[in-house]
């Protein structure tokens, strides 16, 4: 974490957006990083092939929690196909500054969970 985006990341870490769960979610998925204990769960609601609502829960370091918070803001209302094509690079850029490669795993956990949730969703239908 560098000073250029520290404020931004801390803001999302301390005031996470879309934190919580969705009771009647269309799909939920949870995954963690065993070596550091970070866990993220996502609950999704899809309407007309668009992401209507998304909530995350879990625990972890500032980078993983802030990244998923930022991610939920960026994908709400988007078409499923568009979200699936969201790349790791897009995610890292969304953090508004440099993240050390050591922490890429933390920063990308939320996106991994989201994609697995969405692919699980389409294969379920």
């Amino acid at each position: 974490m560098q000073s250029d985006n520290l404020e931004y990341i801390l803001d999302h870490y301390k005031n996470p957006r879309n934190f919580g769960t969705i009771e009647d979610a269309d799909f939920s998925y949870e995954e963690g990083i065993p070596s550091c204990g970070d866990v993220i769960r996502l609950d999704l609601k899809i309407r007309n092939n668009k992401l209507d609502d998304i909530k995350f829960s879990g625990t972890g370091c500032a980078i993983s929690q802030a990244s998923v918070s930022i991610l939920t803001e960026n994908v709400t209302g988007k078409e499923v196909e568009e979200i699936v094509s969201y790349t790791d690079k897009d995610m890292l850029e969304a953090l508004g500054g440099q993240v050390s490669p050591i922490r890429f795993k933390c920063a990308l956990l939320g996106l991994t969970v989201l994609k697995k949730a969405l692919t699980g969703k389409s294969s379920n239908q």
Partner: protein
């Protein structure tokens, strides 16, 4: 050698730092402060030179040929076994088997001894403090052979519950396999007393010395253990080399772990017989450079003196504990009893994930570990989950601890 002997007495970490080239580099523009010694240690120039010299001047395969280079490397490699034997007070150098690391050592014993000598219903006693490498191989035998694993617990201070030991030692206990110093709490366990009690029921004793041998004087004949394992990389040596000490008669009686070249005496298609110790257990071309490098590491440690290292670390440890306990938002695990400790402190900054602690420290050039430290049963027993961990060695000094604590204050302010 002369230079090293002069230093014996007390340790000047700032002088010793000059022996370790890595401290010439900067991390994020700051001098490197290396506090992750329980994971692996830095290498002195003498170890690096030794490996360099081996490859430049002596490189060849051992035990295979009469040419000069092969003879030289054979002698160098055997000498490294002798150095390790002397270092831990083994009677004979052929009681030292080189492996890749402590993990491979433990597996070699599980396969070479356990697989052939344990029967269904036999018991192996370990402790809840074990590193995963001293848990999982015995689980393999439990599933394969139907042995039982008994576990000696810890109290809430992080000390082994020795009063429960007699009940856990039964006539079916064939092996007591215990961690000497905890890589999470730093606790040094009373292995001599545990060995004494284990012997009363006729069990063999295996000591995981991965975290103790780099930090305190060890004598296997004084402990009375049958096996002892360690990793070279945690004691200034190269990666990819570790060892087993085993009582000669037991090693003679054991089956090989790996089969192939170098470990045989004679091979026909009907039958093969095994080479003498320690080669019976070192199948294939071994890590010759690594073994010789480990010998150089042992020379370096001998020159400093393990008692001096222990004294220095105790000094650093009590300094760090005092500094850190001044802040109620730093939670320190263990270190509540008066038992001996090596220089390991696991801790958390209240409200901050250990990853973020380690990440912030890294920005200041300070290397610490964060995670579960490959000891999940202990971590969950003590409700530790994930922690940050600092661990000292001979080249650390008090200014580094000061800087670390100053940075922790910053961490608390930013994240807490």
């Amino acid at each position: 050698m002369e230079k090293l002997i002069q230093r014996a007495g007390s340790i000047d970490p700032n002088l010793l730092k000059k022996d370790f080239p890595v401290f010439e580099r900067k991390v994020h523009g700051k001098p490197l402060i290396y506090l992750d010694n329980a994971a692996t240690t830095q290498k002195p120039q003498s170890v690096i030179d030794c490996i360099d010299n081996y490859y430049r001047n002596h490189n060849s395969n051992i035990h295979r040929g009469v040419h000069t280079l092969s003879y030289e490397s054979t002698v160098m490699y055997e000498d490294a076994h002798k150095k390790v034997a002397d270092f831990i007070g083994a009677d004979k150098w052929n009681e030292i088997i080189f492996t890749r690391n402590a993990t491979e050592s433990l597996n070699l014993l599980a396969y070479g001894w356990g697989l052939h000598r344990l029967e269904e219903g036999d018991e192996v006693l370990i402790t809840i403090m074990e590193h995963h490498s001293n848990i999982v191989p015995w689980q393999m035998l439990r599933d394969l052979k139907g042995i039982k694993i008994n576990v000696l617990g810890v109290d809430d201070r992080g000390d082994l519950k020795l009063d429960e030991l007699p009940d856990l030692l039964t006539e079916r206990t064939k092996l007591v396999s215990i961690i000497h110093a905890s890589n999470v709490l730093g606790t040094v366990n009373p292995v001599k007393e545990i060995t004494r009690q284990a012997k009363e029921v006729g069990a063999l004793v295996l000591i995981d010395a991965a975290q103790s041998i780099p930090h305190l004087p060890i004598d296997v004949s004084e402990i009375g253990c049958d096996f002892l394992v360690a990793s070279g990389h945690k004691m200034l040596g190269p990666t990819g080399i570790g060892f087993i000490y085993g009582r000669e008669s037991l090693l003679e009686d054991m089956e090989p772990f790996m089969y192939g070249g170098d470990m045989i005496e004679k091979v026909t298609f009907e039958k093969s017989t095994w080479n003498e110790l320690p080669w019976k257990f070192e199948a294939g071309t071994p890590n010759i450079a690594g073994g010789i490098g480990l010998g150089a590491a042992v020379d370096y440690l001998d020159g400093i003196g393990l008692q001096n290292i222990l004294d220095h670390e105790e000094d650093l440890l009590s300094y760090a504990l005092e500094k850190m306990s001044a802040y109620d938002w730093i939670k320190i695990y263990g270190h509540k009893s008066t038992t001996e400790s090596v220089g390991v402190i696991s801790f958390n900054v209240e409200g901050v994930h250990p990853h973020d602690v380690a990440g912030m420290l890294d920005e200041e050039g300070i290397a610490v570990r964060s995670g579960h430290h490959c000891a999940q049963p202990l971590m969950s027993e003590l409700s530790m989950d994930y922690t940050a961990r600092i661990s000292f060695y001979l080249y650390n000094n008090k200014e580094e601890i000061d800087l670390c604590v100053e940075t922790l204050k910053k961490v608390k302010k930013i994240f807490g």
